[in-house]
Amino acid sequence: MRLRWPIGLALILAATVIFGSENLVQFSDESLRIRYQVLITELRCPKCQNQNLADSNSPISYDLREEIQRMLEQKKTDSEIKYHLTSRYSEFILYRPELNRTTYLLWGSPVVILLIGLLVALRLNRRNAAEVVSSGETEIANESRLAQLLESEEDEK
């Protein structure tokens, strides 16, 4: 009776091993596995709206992972693999798009927006500085006027 729960736990754990092993990908060289992981996280599932190949369960992602594995074993370079896939599935599948005519705006806009922001910050800063100077001037004017008033008051006494 007492032994029941450890046995149950062991069975559950054994099940995770069995189900987990189903997805193991075999490579002839472990360095390929690292590149494989990078590629499938950087490439996008064409069927899904926003999932990479690593996360997606769709049949097409499964096929494309297999295709990438096959190409890695054929000693193709990362850029060759990416080219192979973009020439079929278009640049849609690259989560990090190449820099070209259609993506200048995409890559350039953060820089442009940053520059605009800096420009605005600079101008605001300058204006504030000018205001501090002018308010400093009025302060001096006020003080001299106050002194004058106080003086005239004392005279009247």
């Binding site: 064409p46 096929d63 295709e67 020439s87 079929r88 278009s90 849609f92």
Partner: protein, 178 residues
């Protein structure tokens, strides 16, 4: 100068509104076609009806042909099938690409619903599908007589799609062939 600068945020807002409004009309599930204007990929695959008969890209050349990607597991293909039958009746040469399917089920399917295909390529592993950039059935490709892909449609081809995307191009390609 200052007056004009005051309207700058409004102008920016107007531009952004127009850009975003245009974006609303786009279908985000539709991928740009990488293969339009390219030759049909090479392949060597068995015919659906006869496993011993090996087909290749040469079998598609020489005539204007519609390549229709279909499968028995694909629900939208059932809806599309009547239209494909109708096109075949009108004399359009349609070749089937049976994609990641079961041979017996596919043969039964054609017996039941009619076979509009001159022949069907049996792509059990989906390798030709990958070479074509297929990401979901049904898909339809229009090839000219030289075997160049001239148009691609992802999703169901119905009357509306045929008339707006295929009909004129098909007629033009038929003229080019003559």
């Amino acid at each position: 100068m200052n007056r004009v600068a005051l309207f700058l945020p409004l102008a920016l807002f107007a531009v952004l509104t127009v850009v975003l409004l245009l974006g609303l009309d786009k279908d985000p599930t539709e991928l740009p076609s990488a293969l339009v204007g390219e030759p049909f990929p090479t392949f060597s695959l068995p015919s659906l009806s006869d496993a011993t008969q090996i087909l290749d890209e040469q079998d598609l050349f020489g005539e204007v042909v519609l390549v229709n990607v279909w499968a028995t597991w694909c629900f939208a293909c059932r809806i599309e099938h009547a239209m494909v039958n109708q096109l075949a009746e009108q004399g359009v040469k349609v070749v089937g690409l049976n994609y990641k399917d079961n041979r017996e089920a596919a043969i039964d399917w054609l017996k039941e619903r009619g076979d509009p295909y001159t022949f069907s390529i049996f792509d059990e592993q989906g390798r030709l599908g990958i070479d074509l950039g297929v990401y979901g059935a049904p898909e339809t490709y229009l090839l000219d007589a030289t075997g160049t892909i001239r148009h691609r449609r992802v999703g169901v081809v119905d009357d509306r799609v045929w008339n707006s995307e295929f009909r004129d191009l098909y007629a033009q390609l038929m003229d080019e062939k003559r």
